[in-house]
């Protein structure tokens, strides 16, 4: 049961060690340490990347923002550019865990942990963000939607790690919406969540993007609803169709937090509620 801990000082050192058997990346540890303690995981070599400068930057590159995987949620919440250009991310992160968790938890950790309830996945899906994966063979980019492969499963291959997330700056006309349903108001894992970016004029939907958490094996975009609604006027029948399509788009499970049935209904109703809101401003 030997367990080793190594604080890596460079990407090279990380890559060399990542190939070793039983090696695992440790960042904030807010998922990993919990799983180790409960015996779900027992890595032999922990590679602590939380202080790697290359992974701790938030950079504005033209029309995109690149966020290093080891940037903590608290740092994101304090970042000027994120506050200005990605208000949805701020809304979401301010509801993730609690202050103590956000001081340690990172964007990278939240994504690689790949929980169906990972809160930051919802805005990243809505932004059409990409992940940058680095391995000894080099770097590749992948849409966030293709990164999640199932509960706890990602597209990372052996020896690869998540270096950064690349977010195309959304049209500022898209207003953010996020509703996370939990059993209490803070420090709660989503029973279900709905996020949206919505650009309407009067009752005309110029563009809508919808994503949901905790209602499928991975966080998902609700494309069929989007396709039905984009460019349309909000009417009673559109709302009902959106409700139906949202219901059909999800595949939730029963668990200790709630039933599949509730999750299906509540996501459908939240989608309908979002469109109803357009009619009632």
């Amino acid at each position: 049961m030997g367990q080793q801990y190594l604080k890596v000082n460079s990407i090279e050192e990380l890559l060399v060690n990542l190939d070793k058997p039983g090696a695992m990346v440790l960042c904030g540890g807010t998922d990993l340490v919990v799983k180790m303690r409960s015996g779900l995981l027992s890595p032999e070599l922990l590679l602590d990347i939380s202080d790697l400068p290359e992974l701790r930057e938030i950079r504005n590159i033209g029309s995109k923002i690149e966020i290093g995987a080891a940037v903590t949620q608290s740092e994101l919440l304090a970042s000027e550019i994120v506050r200005e250009r990605l208000p949805l991310l701020i809304t979401v992160l301010s509801q993730l865990g609690c202050v103590q968790i956000r001081n340690r938890g990172t964007l990278g950790g939240n994504l690689v942990n790949a929980s169906p309830a990972a809160d930051s996945a919802v805005p990243l899906l809505l932004f059409d963000a990409e992940v940058i994966l680095t391995g000894s063979q080099g770097e590749r980019r992948l849409a966030v939607k293709d990164f999640f492969r199932g509960p706890g499963k990602t597209a990372l291959s052996n020896g690869e790690f998540l270096r950064a997330v690349l977010i195309p700056l959304p049209n500022p006309k898209l207003s953010p919406f996020f509703h996370k349903i939990g059993r209490r108001k803070a420090l709660t894992i989503a029973i279900a969540s709905l996020g949206a970016l919505l650009h309407v004029e009067g009752d005309l939907i110029h563009e809508v993007r919808l994503a949901a958490g905790s209602v499928a094996p991975t966080p998902i975009r609700l494309r069929r609803v989007e396709e039905r609604a984009n460019g349309k006027r909000v009417t009673a029948s559109l709302i009902e169709e959106a409700r139906k399509l949202a219901r059909q788009s999800v595949s939730p499970i029963d668990d200790i937090r709630a039933s599949a049935d509730y999750r299906r209904t509540v996501i459908a109703d939240l989608v309908a509620h979002l469109f109803e809101g357009v009619l009632h401003v």
């Binding site: 803070a186 029973i191 509730y262």
Partner: protein, 746 residues
């Protein structure tokens, strides 16, 4: 001094992290214990093989039931619970064997090396199934042939309910369900057993009832009581969870310490604590109420069943309090109440703040609202009309002669909440809102202070008090500080009684060898009973001080400022500077056959009003506003009392809205605070008003009664009724999760 907000004597140490909780303590050569537990709900133990456990290089010893030197029981009320399961395991998590190792990690590893073979027996998990005559027998001994698992059945018969319902213009009936509630104290259970010379055993631990622990450890070790000394360590919350369970924890540690002849520490981790220790009894309450057109109650008929778990522990006492509180703070001429507690193959339930009353309060207050609705009477008004007053008779035919403040709590709560205006505002909001509904809930409760007519022998308390040579005062009592502020309140009482400054008085940690058995620190009795014992001691000490002062020609009015001089005289002249105080509860009586009698010597009261807002789309309910008004007689420290109320509101809100432990075939499905949710600061109404009406009790210290449990009792139903009001729908089951609430949205 009485009523003042003083700095808690324990505040600084706790804030600085210097208070020593049980897990902070170590003794030379101390071992670490771990418990080998049953993994099936009901089974015969065919084989218990600890060879591999013993072979673990760090394990010092193991212990099984047949090695117990005294009796294999955890003494609480009935001796039905073994310290270690012998032939049969009756719930998942029941202790079967013990081990002690040089360190905790090894102890926890070694547990996994035990081999236990079972022959599984049919098991039963819910109280109604367990009541059927052909249910597997869980209770030891079987209760009756027809109902083997009927632990306790108790009743009240007053007047003639048939006649009462015949007089009623309206009758409403309802069935109410509540589930487990976990105490979620910050500090988990733990004890250290330290062998002392001459075969004696000392127990250090986190607890509410040092004298229960003393009795239990003496019994399991076969020692005289005088050879067991119990020292309470700084205790990080209890809420009833440290009433009976520490007896079990201490017994297990003591058995290993006895065998190893070394100190042994046993501390549960959170998962072990949640899964294997007591909780609030799940309940089913059927309630029928009748009232006249003007709202006057004529009769109630109540039948309630509590799931007790595999052993009795405190269930008879919990059930009795439920019985005594099922009618609420109202005048009701005809009363028929039946309560039953039932054995099942689940973790034994026990004491939890409110002690069997919150379940029936949910029912009685819901019924009041439904009567009001049917009769077209305002909900506050129907409570006002039926509220008990001095001279009235309770459901047990006790005539109330003093200190009945319930009506004042209702009226004051109504005023502080602007009840009628707020009702109109809520209606206006609801008329205008498409997707949100607000609601108001009101809940009034009464609480019998102290242990009452079922166990009057427990309502006593001692105090030891000495005048030190410098004029400062040392005190020892037998009730404990568990975070509630007892040390502060008692020091204030002593300070007032002796005219000695607050910071010149020190209360020693509770040690059972210092004072006589003072009963448990439960039933909201600490301030009152130990306060009375301190007053008794103070009167005796003052008498002696006066005699010496007279001798020294110190005039009476100069005694406080010249106490040091007087104390010096005690010292120089070899005078006895120590006294003992004693307090007994006023007489109570109760007849088992009719359920009638003077159940408690006095009652505390409260009325809470909550405003909630429900999101109709998601079913999320949030508490927006709260008013709590209490009558606990004289308030000894307003700040601490308000803190108690605020904490109780939070705990009740959790019970009503979010706290829940699903159980599948006897297995509890929440193992920690990720899945067992208690409220956070965000869930508590930003605007919470706490106020008191002080209906003084002549036999209490400076007129004080009890407070500790009452806030929780009142708050949960204020919240759940507010949700019901918001939805315009029945709310009969806790917790009101988003899913359940959405399911009720019409």
């Amino acid at each position: 001094m009485i009523g003042a907000a003083v700095l808690r004597p324990d505040a600084i140490d706790k804030v600085r992290g210097e208070a020593r909780f049980v897990d902070d303590l170590a003794f030379p050569g101390m071992l670490h214990a771990a418990v080998i537990r049953g993994t099936v709900p009901h089974a015969k133990i065919c084989k218990l093989d600890l060879k591999s456990v013993s072979k673990h290089p760090r394990v010092i010893c193991t212990l099984t039931a047949n090695e117990i030197p005294g009796e294999n029981v955890v003494h609480v009320i009935y001796d039905d619970q073994p310290a270690l399961a012998d032939e049969i395991v009756r719930y998942i998590g029941e202790p079967i064997a013990l081990l002690a190792a040089e360190d905790r990690t090894s102890a926890n590893q070694a547990v996994k090396l035990a081999t236990i073979n079972y022959e599984e027996l049919p098991a039963v998990f819910d109280s109604l199934s367990a009541l059927s005559p052909d249910a597997p027998t869980v209770a030891v001994p079987a209760a009756t042939e027809k109902a083997p698992n009927l632990f306790n059945a108790m009743r009240i018969r007053k007047g003639d309910v048939a006649q009462g319902f015949a007089q009623a213009d309206v009758i409403v009936e309802g069935e109410y369900h509540t589930g487990y509630q976990e105490h979620a104290y910050l500090e988990t259970q733990g004890a250290i057993a330290v062998p002392e010379l001459n075969g004696a055993m000392a127990i250090y631990g986190t607890m509410q009832c040092p004298f229960y622990v003393q009795a239990a450890v003496a019994k399991v070790l076969g020692l005289p009581l005088s050879k067991v000394r119990v020292i309470q360590t700084a205790t990080g919350g209890a809420f009833g969870g440290k009433e009976d369970v520490p007896s079990l924890v201490a017994c297990l540690a003591a058995l290993l310490a006895w065998k190893a002849r070394r100190s042994v520490k046993l501390v549960f981790d959170r998962e072990e604590d949640i899964l294997t220790t007591s909780k609030r009894h799940p309940s089913i309450v059927r309630y029928k109420s009748g009232a006249k057109a003007d709202g006057t109650l004529t009769a109630i008929e109540v039948d309630f069943v509590y799931n007790a778990g595999a052993y009795q522990t405190l269930s008879p006492a919990v059930l009795w309090r439920g019985l005594m509180h099922a009618a609420g703070p109202y005048r009701i001429p005809h009363v028929k109440i039946d309560g039953r507690s039932v054995a099942t193959n689940t973790v034994p339930c026990g004491a939890f703040r409110g002690f069997g009353s919150p379940q029936v309060i949910f029912a009685h207050e819901s019924q009041m609202d439904r009567l009001a609705e049917r009769l077209g009477i305002d909900r506050l008004e129907i409570r006002r009309r039926n509220a008990l007053q001095i001279g009235d008779e309770t459901a047990t035919k006790q005539r109330l002669s003093e200190s009945v403040g319930v009506l004042q709590t209702i009226e004051k709560a109504g005023r502080l909440a602007h009840w009628e205006e707020r009702l109109r505002k809520v209606e206006a909001f609801n008329a205008a809102s498409r997707d949100r509904r607000r609601g108001l809930g009101i809940s009034s409760v009464m609480y019998g202070v102290g242990l009452g007519g079922k166990a009057p022998f427990l309502d006593k308390a001692g105090a030891y008090m000495k005048l030190e040579a410098d004029g400062s005062i040392g005190i020892a009592v037998g009730t404990v500080e568990m975070g509630q502020g007892l040390t502060t309140a008692l020091t204030q009482i002593a300070s007032e009684a002796l005219s000695v400054p607050f910071d010149r008085i020190h209360l020693a940690p509770v040690d059972s060898s210092r004072v006589p058995d003072s009963g448990p620190t439960v039933a909201s009795r600490g301030t009152m009973m130990s306060g009375l014992a301190i007053l008794d001691a103070a009167a005796k000490l003052k008498e002696r001080i006066r005699t010496v002062a007279k001798d020294l020609h110190i005039p009476k009015n100069e005694i406080p400022s010249r106490l040091k001089e007087i104390a010096q005289a005690f010292f120089m002249r070899n005078l006895d500077p120590a006294v003992e105080g004693w307090a007994q509860g006023a007489p109570v009586d109760w007849d088992e056959e009719t359920g009638l009698g003077n159940a408690y010597f006095v009652y505390a009261y409260a009325t809470h009003i909550a405003q909630v807002e429900v999101d109709l789309t998601t079913g999320e309910a949030s508490v927006e506003d709260f008013v709590a008004v209490h009558d606990s007689g004289r308030i000894v420290n307003h700040q601490l009392a308000s803190g108690q109320v605020e904490g109780g509101i939070a705990q009740g809100l959790g019970f009503a809205l979010m706290e829940d432990i699903p159980q599948e075939d006897g297995r509890l499905m929440t193992t920690g605070f990720t899945t067992y949710r208690i409220p956070t600061i965000r869930d508590i109404a930003a605007d919470t008003k706490v106020a008191f009406v002080e209906a003084l009790y002549s036999a209490g210290p400076f007129g004080a009664k009890g407070l500790g449990e009452v806030p929780l009792m009142a708050s949960h139903t204020a919240v759940s009724r507010a949700v019901a009001h918001a939805l315009g729908a029945a709310v009969n089951t806790y917790p009101l999760s988003p899913e359940r609430v959405k399911g009720s949205v019409a």
